[in-house]
Assembly symmetry: none
Homo-oligomer: 243 residues x 2
Amino acid sequence: MNLSKVRMVLIATSHAGNIGAAARAMKNMGLERLYLVAPRDFPSEEALVRASGATDVLQQAVVCDSLAEALQGVGVVYGSSARQRTLAWPEVDVRGCAVQVSEVSLQDEVAIVFGRERIGLTNEELQLCHTLLHIPTNPDYSSLNVASAVQVVAYELRMAFLSSESAPVVEPVVADALARAEEMAHFYTHLEQTLVELEFLDPKNPRQLMPRLQRFFHRSQPTQLELGMLRGILSAALKKKKA
Amino acid sequence: MNLSKVRMVLIATSHAGNIGAAARAMKNMGLERLYLVAPRDFPSEEALVRASGATDVLQQAVVCDSLAEALQGVGVVYGSSARQRTLAWPEVDVRGCAVQVSEVSLQDEVAIVFGRERIGLTNEELQLCHTLLHIPTNPDYSSLNVASAVQVVAYELRMAFLSSESAPVVEPVVADALARAEEMAHFYTHLEQTLVELEFLDPKNPRQLMPRLQRFFHRSQPTQLELGMLRGILSAALKKKKA
């Protein structure tokens, strides 16, 4: 486990106090890298007060315009969101996520994304996440405060960190570097354009084709070399078509 | 595990907002019994705001003058407190505590006591606790917000509750049936033929292209539906080429 490779990404947080509380929760558990996507009120006095001694985490926070921007350089993306969705997406609970991150963070950047209070993640944002993160809650009252969600995840990451410190180092399963989020985004654009050209995807009636393909390729977590092969195939298909 | 036998006891909480946040954290995890020992500012508007939908937990909160009064009828007492002490006391971490409570709560009342912000538990209060509860934190920044401490403990209690219920915590990642070996074999033949037709794969000099692609698709374990989409794309690429 390398906690310094883990970034916590908060999307469009509406209450500044929650940003401060999230910073404190992170620092308490040894996490320092906070990303804020379009925060409504930041920097703010309220965030500083609630951050208590974790002002350094707030001051170093990276403010971004979009989730895609916050995911630059990231290999694996988890999305925490309460909203129910129609399309099933791979899901893991917090403890399982922490065990995975323990290994992945030895070589890749990891992002854990927290959706808006109440509304959660948009479908577009969800599709940037490889795996949904499920925090078990009372089914009759499941709406967690965003700083509380950060606290629970940060706590499980610390528990996994402590157990990795006392365990022999495990070699990462994949030796090549995983494709980064922005490379995956380019690939999806390339894939979609190709499928339209091939008339396999009808832009007027896209159905769930792209989300399903994204879910599949997220799950397989291609390396940079593998992504290169896949893009080569797409280029070959288009070139042939145009020849 | 019987969550209704567990009471959370907050001692002399100074910020009303933390009482509300603790109530919300409890209810999120299925806990409802809040005891407040000499709260500085309760009831309060700020507590109601931060409790969000957990106002019932606040309204049913039992306000006491002393810790001893809050522990009436309790069989087992855990004390969570950050303060260093000279006197060694039995100690357990949160996960270990949750496992113990899971069993004890089947017949006994359990209390988990949270000390004052900054000052923690007095020696007198500590001596009313059977076991100290240790929340692992960053040694350089260990002062947890009291509502965050309640959140972490409540989360571990819920995890223990779920495992005692033996309810599935993790959703199966993919609900559809995985492609079978013979279907994968057909897919690889189809893929190889297509790549040759597209002149992406040179049969005279195949290099390691097919083994690498197979390793990638094996790892991603496509479902039957996903394999259908992938084969559809291959057919579309060939059809276009021949058209």
